[in-house]
Symmetry: C2
Subunit: 347 residues, 2 copies
């Protein structure tokens, strides 16, 4: 295990490296006020820390930089989440005080505020529709052949799509059918709707609804696409990351941007299985092109369940203490704003 002094030195090295991005030498550390030892002592300790794998040396005559293991130890044991500065709070409130009538806008703004406050890239995953519960279903006929279906969920999402009206079916038929569905399906998870109809509702429907086959076809038109819908991803601050010295190489920029064009890959990055703030450092991400990046993410809730997440992507040398504090606060804030939003919609 590490001695207190070793921890102190490791902390100092990482803190310094995070701001300077340059390998830090023993003299730099010994000059700090919090450290009462000479450069030579520091050197000995740093040599030990390197041997244990917490520090690395780019080349013999350079200073030390933290290794992945070093960062991990720092995040787990040394770091204290940084409280908000007045400026942060001001900036946040000035942007989020607007009254939103639009869920999209809430996510967009949250994402962009975070990237502004951190100067890293921010990724937000909006809730997947399949995880929501059905609030209201409606079909509006446009012409003889076409109609628009409207699906509203408990989270206030509205899904609308064009559907084809089967040949032998009247407006009255549809209304009747949709009425029954509304009564019976309300409150169910979107992902369960299909089986609910096929298993439990089918008998009742056969009794009360004409042209049942056509109607089921209609229903599938409405529901099938929702499951396939890809996760909604909000990105902000892509360019900010280019200010970081580790992205001076165009190749790295390219491989990162390539990654960002794939929505699916992004989701995986930010998705978190645990509760609370999660930190993935360097290769812990298992994706080549962000081997030198870290991701700090957390989930937000709707109805007490995690439904989406926000994450910050920066170099491994990122300001963990600031970002962790921020993500922790904002994921909770997002949860409560979503609750208010939902209450505003449906009470």
């Amino acid at each position: 295990m590490l001695t207190e002094r070793q921890k102190l030195i490791l902390l100092a090295v990482i803190d310094d490296y995070i701001t300077s991005a340059v390998p830090v030498g023993s003299r730099t550390i010994s000059k700090k006020k919090s450290i009462g030892y000479s450069a030579a002592t520091i050197r000995n300790e740093m040599a030990d820390l390197e041997e244990m794998g917490f520090l690395e040396q780019p080349h013999t005559s350079a200073g030390r930089i933290p290794s992945q293991k070093g960062y991990r130890f720092y995040v787990d044991h040394l770091l204290t989440p940084q409280p908000w500065t007045e400026n942060d709070i001001f900036q946040y409130e000035s942007q989020s005080s607007i009254e939103f009538d639009d869920l999209e806008e809430i996510f967009r703004q949250t994402t962009s505020v975070i990237s502004e406050l951190t100067n890293y890239m921010t990724i937000t995953l909006a809730p997947k529709m399949v995880e929501h519960r059905l609030k209201h279903l409606q079909v509006i006929p446009l012409t003889e052949r076409y109609a628009v279906s409207i699906v509203v969920t408990n989270t206030g999402y509205v899904d609308q799509r064009r559907i084809v009206v089967p040949k032998n079916v009247t407006v009255g038929n549809i209304e009747q059918f949709v009425n029954i569905l509304n009564h019976r399906l309300q409150g169910l998870r979107m992902s369960k709707l299909k089986t609910a109809v096929e298993k439990k509702l089918i008998e009742e429907l056969k009794r009360y609804v004409d042209h049942i086959e056509s109607m089921l076809d209609l229903f599938h038109q409405i529901i099938d696409q929702i499951g396939k819908e890809e996760e909604r991803v909000y990105l902000s601050g892509t360019t900010r990351i280019l200010d970081q010295p580790e992205f001076q190489d165009v190749e790295k920029v390219k491989s990162l941007l390539d990654l960002l064009e794939e929505t699916e890959a992004i989701s995986q990055l930010v998705e978190s299985d645990s509760t609370g703030v999660q930190v993935r450092i360097g290769k812990e991400n298992h994706i080549q092109s962000i081997n030198h990046c870290s991701i700090i993410s957390a989930s937000y809730m709707i109805d007490g369940e995690p439904v989406g997440s926000i994450g910050v992507l920066g170099p491994t040398r990122m300001d963990y203490s600031k970002v962790i504090g921020l993500i922790d606060f904002l994921s909770k804030d997002l949860t409560s704003r979503l609750r208010k939003w939902a209450e505003g919609s449906f009470t």
Copy 2:
């Protein structure tokens, strides 16, 4: 004016530079089969072309590169649009043959196909809603206080938003009101709806509708946001442009990406006032960060009117003849696909 030989040489220089990205010397040109002159002759002509401003020399002992004026002349007088290769056609058809039920998908796919075929960045502006005509209006009550408004346009766009139901109003009131609006406003441009109601319809409404003030408030909730809606922008192939040697400098990449984060700026880039394919070379774009880029764009139509545009952004040294041919074809193709789509929706 330029002699035939000068045109020949200018063409050869530009063609060569477009593929090589390296200043081209007199010897390179004289070796080409189509040119029957010695390097010395070419040198003389090139000196003349430089004097006239069609070519530039990075430094005394380097070859020549085309100037902006050179490219302009090339585009206007020398270039022949390149027909599609079999491979292009195959790739295009394999991606576009899918049956779309979703306008968004049509734009997204078109954008991505173009960026794949050209290897440059592609920008598509979807039609602005204000320019569409009203097809159908509907209000669905959700609760006592809230409702969802659905606006369908002639182009098949569906706009949906949450609105607040004024206190003293019943469902019946709303239905009556919306019915009248539907009858009277159908076919009008979205941008004209407000004045139409305030100028022409107000008397009739006062006669048949209760709580007219509340109703107008409702109407404004539905309509006001549509006008403000920013233009929908589809981007694809952002990273492809990083393969171009002119983007090896991270600063250039950054300033370009910064530009791309502003939707408004992008719209201006691609928006075209004229019909047919439009080419803007280098500083003709009036935007600092793309001084070394060219944009080739064209509009597509709905109901015979240009409503949006597609554009390709590449270095000034881009393959004009290929891209022009492609954009010309695809803008027309998009027009016809949109027509089919609209017919599918409303006949």
